[in-house]
């Protein structure tokens, strides 16, 4: 009798969630996700959503604000991991779906943002700052993303019946809204550069040219600033390198298990009643 109950209980457990929950608790201590280097020790930065280490010219830099924000993120992900774990072990409890909703997508969004921030930063540095960009493409991009997001939300509410498909569509809609937000950020940057730096950053110093070349999230490149004055010329070369680190691989695994756990997890009791 006891064996049968145990078997039933084990069968009900959301195993994806158990793995995701444990990985989420471990993740803040599994190392940094991304590194950024200028020269050989001019700037060395390694970061993840849970911490940052920055050394500039051989000196370690510390920011209380960054430290506290990363501490908040660490506590947040540990709480989320515990919630996902409890929700997965007891999926039929009334609170289970709520706890799963709270925690399951956190690592996914952290990983997305960690990739998007350097990508957008590099795009702004390489394409927007030199000037000559038009606003139209970014406004169009934002508009199309919003239209698709609203349309898919409407269609999902109308036609999707299964909980997993609704959750997947919710995630896709949020990704589209994030893309729209990024287009808006780029549009604002293009507008500011067009308004205040009509000939791009190179126009800041008379006789100077700035050839910005920043890698997109991973890789190496050199940014060169040249300036001519009188009969002389000066050139400053900044080698820049970036790369994803081992902690990011674990973040991807965690995000995949969390999303699977979220999709697989039973819905809240009110949805069951609706059925």
């Amino acid at each position: 009798m006891k064996m049968t109950n145990l078997r039933k209980l084990v069968k009900k457990i959301n195993w994806f969630g158990v793995i995701a929950g444990i990985l989420m608790i471990v993740l803040p201590f599994a190392g940094r996700w991304w590194r950024f280097t200028v020269g050989t020790g001019a700037i060395d930065l390694t970061t993840s959503p849970f911490g940052i280490t920055t050394t500039a010219f051989g000196q370690t830099m510390e920011s209380t604000l960054a430290k506290y924000i990363f501490l908040g993120a660490t506590i947040s992900i540990i709480i989320a991991g515990l919630f996902v774990l409890f929700a997965s072990l007891l999926p039929e409890q009334w609170w289970s779906a709520r706890l799963m909703d709270f925690g399951a997508t956190k690592v996914f969004w952290m990983a997305i943002w960690l990739v998007m921030m350097p990508l957008i930063g590099a795009f702004i540095a390489n394409r927007v700052l030199p000037g000559g960009q038009t606003l139209t493409i970014y406004i169009l991009g934002a508009t199309i993303s919003i239209i698709i997001a609203v349309l898919s939300k409407y269609l999902a509410s109308k036609f999707l019946k299964k909980l997993w498909s609704k959750r997947l569509m919710k995630l896709a809609t949020n990704v589209l809204l994030m893309i729209a937000g990024l287009f808006i950020v780029l549009a604002v940057c293009v507008f500011i550069v067009g308004k205040f730096l009509p000939s791009g950053v190179s126009g800041i110093v008379p006789g100077g040219t700035l050839n910005i070349n920043v890698p997109y999230a991973s890789g190496s490149a050199s940014t060169i600033f040249s300036m001519s004055m009188g009969g002389g010329q000066a050139t400053l070369t900044l080698p820049i390198s970036m790369g994803l680190m081992s902690g990011f691989a674990l973040a991807i695994v965690t995000a995949v298990f969390s999303i699977l756990a979220w999709i697989y997890h039973p819905g809240p009791p009110e949805e069951k009643k609706k059925k």
Binding site: E62, G232, L236
Partner: protein, 185 residues
């Protein structure tokens, strides 16, 4: 109210609190001073490069020695005129609190009166000077014999009013390369 909804609201509040509380706590810890909260007490750029404004290049250069041309034999003198390099050494004392690599120093010696190039010089090897350390720079120079002879002919004697032209300097600090060329000095 439905307990599920109450839990939902509480979880949303928890999310907000986990973002807001650390920010407020960080500012409160530094007496609401935004600069101290953001950057902390250390400013590496100021610490490392603050003393650059008091830099005196003349004080950095110690013993300079040049190969004694007067003691050269006639054969050596002829080989110098035919392009054998003359070496000059100079001790450089760095007051800087960071290491610096002098990768290249080059240029030409020119007679400012008639613009004739008398010779060229170049750093023999890149030199890494440690923070607050000193190293000896070795610069090899060659005489442009046709230019030098033409200048002697123009002046009816040894060249005077000698200046530097096309001086190039290449420095590396923490992997960042700074390269400069100056038309004339």
């Amino acid at each position: 109210m439905d307990k599920g909804k109450v839990l939902g609201i509480l979880l949303s509040l928890l999310s907000i609190l986990l973002v807001v509380v650390p920010i407020v706590a960080a500012f409160a810890a530094h007496g609401w001073d935004p600069k101290a909260t953001l950057l902390g007490s250390s400013n590496p750029v100021e610490t490392q490069f603050g003393d650059l404004q008091n830099l005196n290049v003349e004080n950095m250069i110690g013993n300079v020695s040049l190969e004694d041309l007067s003691s050269l034999s006639l054969t050596d003198l002829l080989s110098v005129l035919q392009g054998r390099p003359i070496t000059a050494t100079a001790q450089v004392n760095s007051p800087l609190s960071f290491p610096i690599t002098i990768k290249d120093v080059s240029g030409s010696l020119v007679c400012n009166d008639d613009g004739v190039i008398l010779g060229n010089f170049r750093l023999t090897n890149a030199v890494e000077i440690p923070a607050h350390g000193s190293k000896v720079l070795s610069i090899a120079g060659t005489i442009d014999s046709s230019g030098a002879l033409a200048d002697i002919w123009n002046h009816g004697g040894l060249p005077s009013n000698i200046g530097l032209q096309n001086v190039g300097l290449k420095l590396e600090i923490y992997g960042i390369t700074l390269e400069g060329t100056f038309g004339s000095l």
